[in-house]
């Protein structure tokens, strides 16, 4: 079966839209993806027919809503190869998932001065700042892998050592597109007794990801980047670890029993899902996972590899364009950041937008990555299963226009 991008596009209502009189060319999926009609409909149907609160009611609507919510958990668990749906904690986004681990695991490990946490210089702010704050609270030290000129993690043999307690690394960079081969890092971390979180916000939407194969202890990802709605993210964690960790947010639904004098907590995942969860959002995410599964993540990834190869070639041919990150499709995904000689990314993005081409400009919530390459900002085009080579051509034409305006 070849990947039928035209048929895929027909499922995305927004792709029929025009922007500034041009057909929408949406090249900002690493920021947030568009949503297929199947996802939008699943949420609407839930709200129109089955809405009730979960885990609290014996009535029919409550039971239907609970089943829908737990079915979504099961789908997400299967999608990433979790051993049991109980390893899937629904959060509000990746950022909350990472904060949850920083807080609860940090407390569980009783971090103290002398302990070390290892991240990298290509992390999203959401995988930097929670660790900085954890280090501030506990006196632990933050260390990090550097990044090579090619946009890969710089090997550093001594970085992970017997002082290391937590390693948190991005699986696929949201700026450079690099897909990190994390197996060595995971093995080394486990060798020294450290635990590993992988920020899979950019990988789970685009590649087949299997938590058993990754061998990490936690992964975080986010619904809105994988055809799902805003308002929902996912933490996967090994059940035995989740079961040992203290709660993070506290309140309804995460308790076993409460008296004014004290509280005991429910088992995971409930322990980490305080308050009314994003119910309709879980239903939407479940529908997104169904959609991706039906196409097959291998096929989705292959399509993006093809587009990326085409885009790398096309952009390399545009004079004055410099690409940050791996120059060939090997070990990288469909997220391409670049500079246009003498033109600020804001201006690049603005001219492209006038032509209907939507790219992200700025620091991409990864200021250290930009700093590593000596620029305050970059322009980024990022692709997904609905991206076509025609859209890459539109981007290239747009860049010619940019150079005309600022020539």
């Amino acid at each position: 079966m070849t990947f039928d991008v035209v048929r895929v596009r027909a499922d995305f209502p927004i792709l029929t839209r025009e922007v500034n009189g041009h057909p929408l060319v949406y090249l900002d999926s690493a920021n947030t993806s568009q949503k297929p009609a199947q996802v939008i409909k699943a949420m609407r149907m839930h709200n129109e027919r089955h809405n009730g609160n979960v885990s609290r009611s014996v009535h029919t609507l409550g039971t239907e809503a609970t089943s829908a919510y737990e079915d979504a958990r099961g789908k997400v668990a299967a999608f990433v190869g979790a051993s049991t749906p109980d390893e899937i904690v629904f959060t509000k986004n990746s950022t909350e998932a990472i904060n949850l681990v920083a807080y609860s695991l940090g407390q569980h490990l009783a971090l103290k001065p002398g302990d070390e946490i290892v991240i990298s210089e290509m992390e999203h702010h959401s995988n930097i700042v929670p660790w900085q704050l954890l280090c501030e609270r506990t006196g632990a030290t933050l260390r990090w892998f550097g990044v090579t000129d090619e946009g890969r993690l710089a090997p550093d043999d001594d970085l992970i050592n017997e002082r290391t307690k937590i390693v948190s690394i991005v699986h696929m960079s949201n700026v450079l597109g690099t897909i990190n081969d994390v197996s060595g890092i995971v093995a080394r971390a486990h060798e020294v007794g450290a635990l590993v979180l992988l920020d899979c916000s950019q990988s789970v939407p685009h590649l087949p990801v299997d938590v058993q194969a990754l061998e990490a202890d936690f992964i975080a990802f986010t619904g809105h980047k994988m055809l799902g709605p805003t308002g929902i993210g996912v933490l996967w964690g090994r059940y035995s670890l989740l079961a040992e960790m203290p709660p993070f947010l506290a309140g309804g639904s995460m308790i076993e029993t409460v008296t004014m004098g004290g509280t005991t907590f429910a088992a995971p995942p409930a322990r980490f899902e305080a308050g009314t969860p994003p119910i309709a959002e879980a239903v939407g995410l479940g529908a997104a996972v169904d959609y991706l599964t039906a196409l097959g993540m291998e096929a989705v990834h292959q399509h993006e590899q093809d587009i990326t190869a085409y885009a790398l070639k096309t952009l390399t041919d545009v004079p004055g364009v410099e690409i940050f990150g791996p120059a060939t499709p090997e070990g990288r995904g469909g997220t391409l950041s670049f500079g246009v000689d003498g033109v600020h990314p804001h201006d690049v993005g603005q001219v492209l937008d006038a032509l209907g081409v939507e790219v992200r400009v700025g620091h991409h919530c990864a200021k250290p990555t930009c700093a590593r390459f000596g620029v305050p900002a970059m322009t980024r085009a990022s692709f997904y299963l609905y991206t076509t080579t025609d859209e890459i051509d539109a981007l290239a034409r747009g860049l010619d226009q940019v150079k005309k305006v600022f020539g």
Binding site: V58, S67, E256, T257
Partner: protein, 155 residues
Amino acid sequence: MMLDGLYQEIILDHYKHPHGRGLRDPFNGEAHHVNPTCGDEITVRVSSAAGEFSDISYDGLGCSISQASASVLYELLRGRSPEDAAGIHEAFVALMQGRGQVEPDEDVLGDGIAFAGVAKFPARVKCALLPWMAFKDAAARAGIDVSSEASEVKA
């Protein structure tokens, strides 16, 4: 869901006239379980002698399903060997978690077959299992293992 499948006459009977209710001494193991979603509670005690559960006593607050389930448990497991109890326990848990697809065996489950309809009410499965999970824990504390793979799954 209609009620007929849920409130079998047998269940209402056990609810209104529970068998073996009340906590008794002596005992070898005790466990207190709570259903966190509804607040129901049960305490189960087991005493073992001569290789069997010589008594099982219980007390608790709960709905008709959980109370009747405790009464049936008492009837089914008292006087049994750990092996027999494990088999019955497993059969009951399997029935409850079968979403109404499991055909109960009256020879094994006795009055317990009346709970077949409960399996179709996901919100009530936990009620039916509450005493059984507490029993398993109480037995474990008495040093008797009634686990089986089927009863490992979360209540």
